[in-house]
Amino acid sequence: MSLKLIRQALNRHRPPPRMWRAHPLKKRYDVIIIGGGAHGLACAHYLAKDHGVTDVAVLEKSYIGSGGSGRNTAIIRANYLTPEGVRFYHQSLMLYEDLAGELDFNVMFSQRGHLTLAHTDGAVRTMRRRAEVNRLQGVDSRLVGPEELARLCPHLDLSQRPRYPILAALYHPPGGIIRHDAVVWGYAHQADTRGIHIHQQTEVTGIDAGDGGAVQGVQTTRGYVEAGTVLNATAGWGSTIAAMVDLELPLETFPLQACVTEPLKPFLDTVIVSGSLHVYVSQSDRGELVMGASIDPYASYSLNSSLDFLEGIAGHMLELFPFLGEARILRQWAGPCEMPPDFSPLMGKTPVSGFLLDVGWGTYGFKASPICGKTMAQLIATGETPDLIAPFRLSRFAELDLVGEKGAASVGQ
């Protein structure tokens, strides 16, 4: 590796190798993936690697990973509430464990353990139930009390002083954090090496569904492209794309804000989540505390950051870690989260032939990227919906068969 670098440095005439190349936009592709985030790029990768499908274009309106993939707080876990959810996220977690090898790129997955704190009797019951559902699905989770919590996270305020003292926690050892950008870049590079075209700064402005309700192609800012299969992998903007084929989805988009502190000495070894306090935190490899809370109280596509959010999160963080009073916030940002009524995604076929969905990812999308890529690639290549994602079909709403994950998907309001 280092010899290569030296040769590159000495050779002024050859351009340095790119992780992914720019291509002219062809007039036609077999498959178009709208959205160059972790989901879209993972799908492209598995299409090429698992199924040999390479006549694929990933169309990204900005730069790859500029949406939710670049804005999340990079937490990976499988400790959900429903059997369908647990089974699904567990598959994703296992793919993440091997991802650096799969992508030949360091994604810095640190399985440092994940703690979901319970501050009320009701919460303790829920954590106990989640632990049991997890274990039945083969996922490592258990309920821990204050003594073990003190060993796992000595800096937590476990006294009776806080307004809502910590009673117990759901401990999920395989959970952890990852370098979210690296996942995007790794998938993009692999897809690119197998011949898939990644088109950045290429916005889809319309979808041609013909007369018979079947996809013919897409209109973009760089011209019209024919395709028989179009995947909507634009979570955050899923409704806007679906509207192009006159399809309404059960989604409302809310901003989700996050922030980081200045780098601090390493003290937090686990990921800490508190549903009651609506806050979660982890410490990055640079020492920054990466913090998030619940979605903004009203729907909006405007991704402005607010003082409300900072005040709220600071107050709750100090309940957990009182010594952080002097820590300074370095940066805050937001991302769009489209929320379905049951906090479970929308995946699979739609009434429009050839138009597929991988949206509705709310606040829980990044951790599912690998399994989504894999299952959507399988659906595209075989035409059959994999069993693992059948519970997340769009038609479940008309069938009144929702998959209720609100209790475990986010620190709701």
Binding site: W237, S239, T240, A243, D246, L247, E248, L249, P250, L251, E252, T253, P297, Y298, A299, S300, Y301, S302, N304, S306, D308, E338, P340, P341, P351, F397, A398, E399, L400
Partner: protein
């Protein structure tokens, strides 16, 4: 902070209100509506990246449930108004056919 004009109380901080979600037209004949129509009313949303009619509740004030038209991309309120007969039909006309 966003300022909402409650039809009763006037201009107040958005923190006084609770967001009630996008306005969804009720089935015209509730007792005869199919499950699909009920699901559409309950779950499907336009979620427009632009002006949207939505419900708000004046939680810390008069307790009124009212409608607002707000541009969700710019986060700017166009107008606030009290629900009246026919407002959903007007919205349906403006929004075009729901699928």
């Amino acid at each position: 902070m966003l300022i909402l004009c409650c039809p009763n109380c006037g201009a107040r901080n958005v923190s006084e209100f609770r967001f009630g979600g996008e306005n969804s037209p009720r089935p015209a004949l509730p007792m005869e509506a199919s499950e699909a129509e009920w699901a559409e009313y309950l779950y499907l949303r336009a979620n427009t990246m632009g002006p949207q009619v939505e419900w708000w509740y004046h939680q810390a004030g008069c307790g009124l449930w009212f409608l607002a038209e707000r541009d969700r991309a710019l986060n700017e309120v166009v107008r606030t108004f009290i629900w009246e007969d026919g407002v959903q039909e007007k919205e349906r006309e403006r929004g075009g056919e729901r699928s």
